[in-house]
């Protein structure tokens, strides 16, 4: 399989954490240790829903040096395409599943003198692992964590208790308490790196505020997992394998191609890593680029497409696969 060798695991714990958020603990079926990872890494969880395989990326939140198990937290999203609903409604303790090896596309810059973490909602998860690592390495960090309401905020009290109120600040929308982004940006010592993870609007806002405050782009980091958006169904021709693939309303091109038995490279399945970049040979219509990987020029050229999140509208799309 192209995402790397999968690890067969058992779900050994399912813990409700907050409103619509559950934590899942995975241990290897063979009892062996999980690979070590680094803070910010994610895994792809394969969900077999009666023969229909879904694969979603989730950030690892267990301590990176603890290889007895992996833990993830899953928010049951309102307009779930099926992945988070499956995790919440079908997965029980004792179930067997498969997870990928860890991949890190949100690595902290260890040359930084200080790490400023900004989280929104479920975007907290990569930071939980990162903070374990920062604290173990003696790195200087600060977390600013925004939640909508107290009952939706996962791990708020735990984190304040673990790292202290001087390093962990909670902001609650319902209490009209917002992260003072501009003030934070203006008061950081030279050599600070900023990391933001949360809803797309928050990420865009923080990155923009960072550039406006004169921060170099090299010090601004973000992770956004885009999920494939539903859209009009369409067909694609795969020129090398000679197959015609139908992509349904709720399906991504990557999922449809995999369902047809074709092995395609992938890593993040969220438009960020670049692994599933595919050459377009014929495009009679409009490519709907939803990824954050290709440059604007590449998107405009119409020669490349990311299979995991992008779509197509028009008469014919031929891919070099």
């Amino acid at each position: 399989m192209s995402g790397g060798i999968e690890i067969p695991v058992r779900v050994t714990q399912v813990t409700p954490v907050a409103h619509r958020i559950k934590r899942f603990r995975f241990e290897r079926l063979d009892g062996g240790p999980m690979p070590y990872f680094s803070g910010g890494a994610h895994i792809i969880v394969s969900m077999n829903d009666n023969g229909h395989v879904r694969r979603n990326a989730y950030s690892l939140m267990s301590p990176p040096y603890d290889c007895s198990a992996y833990e993830i937290s899953v928010l049951h999203v309102e307009d779930s395409r099926g992945g988070s609903s499956f995790m919440h409604e079908k997965v029980r303790e004792g179930d067997e599943m498969r997870v990928s090896h860890p991949v890190n596309l949100f690595q902290p810059d260890w040359r930084g003198r200080k790490h400023l973490l900004i989280a929104g909602g479920i975007g907290i998860t990569p930071f939980i692992a990162m903070m374990e690592q920062f604290s173990r390495e003696g790195a200087h960090f600060e977390l600013h964590y925004a939640v909508r309401t107290r009952d939706r905020g996962a791990y708020c009290e735990d984190l304040v208790a673990r790292y202290g109120p001087h390093r962990v600040k909670i902001y609650c929308d319902a209490e009209d308490n917002r992260i003072p982004v501009a003030r934070l940006l203006d008061s950081q010592p030279l050599g600070t790196h900023l990391y933001v993870c949360g809803p797309a609007g928050m990420i865009d806002g923080v990155l923009k505020a960072g550039l406006e405050a004169g921060w170099p782009e090299q010090n601004l980091h973000s992770e956004r997992f885009l999920s494939s958006q539903p859209g009009k169904p369409f067909s694609i021709e795969l020129t090398r394998s000679g197959k015609t693939i139908h992509v349904g309303h709720h399906e991504s091109m990557l999922e449809a191609i995999e369902a047809a038995g074709i092995d395609v490279p992938f890593l993040c399945r969220g438009g960020a890593c670049g692994q599933c970049e595919t050459m377009v040979t014929v495009c009679d219509g409009k490519l709907l680029h939803n990824d954050v990987y290709l440059s604007d020029e590449e998107k405009a050229s119409g020669r490349k497409v990311m299979l995991c999140v992008s779509r197509f509208e028009g008469n014919a799309l031929h891919l070099d696969l």
Partner: protein
């Protein structure tokens, strides 16, 4: 004789002023003064009120660049007698600086490399530092054998100023040391080194 096409060779893109910076620090050496003076038009009063200029004349002594720089009217101007004094001053400035501060370095490669080392030491990312190469092409070279550094190397091969070995100057650059790498050219047959060529005037 020069080994070229090595990726670590730094690229200096020119002293473009970053308009959103909260503070501008200019570290200039010799002809590097021109890199800033030529951009006078881009520096309005607001930018100058947030600027600090550090200058060392070296080879451009008596050309009066220090006066021209002082007349720009930056919030702070410092002219140091040597690179070492300028770097000491730069360390002090960066130690208390905040994010939103941009560093601009212009001058010879040896100077850019040394100022860059100070910046990296204060956690700045090298790609965020704005640089422009002005003046002599002379290089700062580390002997890979004895680790001694020779400043202002204009010829290759040249005798290491520490151990005396004839060194070929490569484009291979170390950001950590702020120096190009010099490798003994006649190790197999001592005495067979080719004549030095003046490559970096």
């Amino acid at each position: 004789m020069l080994v070229e096409g090595i990726k670590s060779r730094p690229v200096y893109k020119g002293l473009s002023i970053q308009p959103r910076s909260r503070r501008h620090i200019f570290a200039l050496e010799g002809e590097g003064a021109h890199a800033l003076l030529e951009r006078k038009a881009e520096l309005d009063d607001a930018a100058l009120s947030r600027s600090e200029i550090l200058y060392v004349a070296r080879g451009s002594q008596a050309k009066g660049y220090d006066e021209a720089l002082r007349e720009l009217g930056a919030q702070m101007f410092f002219a140091g007698p040597t690179i070492a004094t300028l770097l000491f001053r730069l360390k002090g400035t960066l130690a208390t600086a905040h994010m939103g501060t941009r560093l601009y370095i212009a001058g010879t490669e040896g100077f850019i490399g040394q100022a860059m080392m100070v910046a990296l030491d204060h956690g700045m990312d090298h790609a965020s530092i704005v640089t422009e190469h002005r003046g002599s092409l002379a290089r700062r070279v580390q002997c890979v054998h004895c680790k001694g550094i020779t400043e202002d190397v204009t010829h290759s091969p040249f005798p290491c100023s520490h151990c005396g070995l004839p060194l070929l100057v490569r484009d291979h650059y170390s950001r950590r040391l702020g120096a190009f790498q010099g490798v003994n050219i006649d190790a197999e047959e001592p005495g067979s080194a080719p004549d030095p060529e003046e490559l970096f005037l």
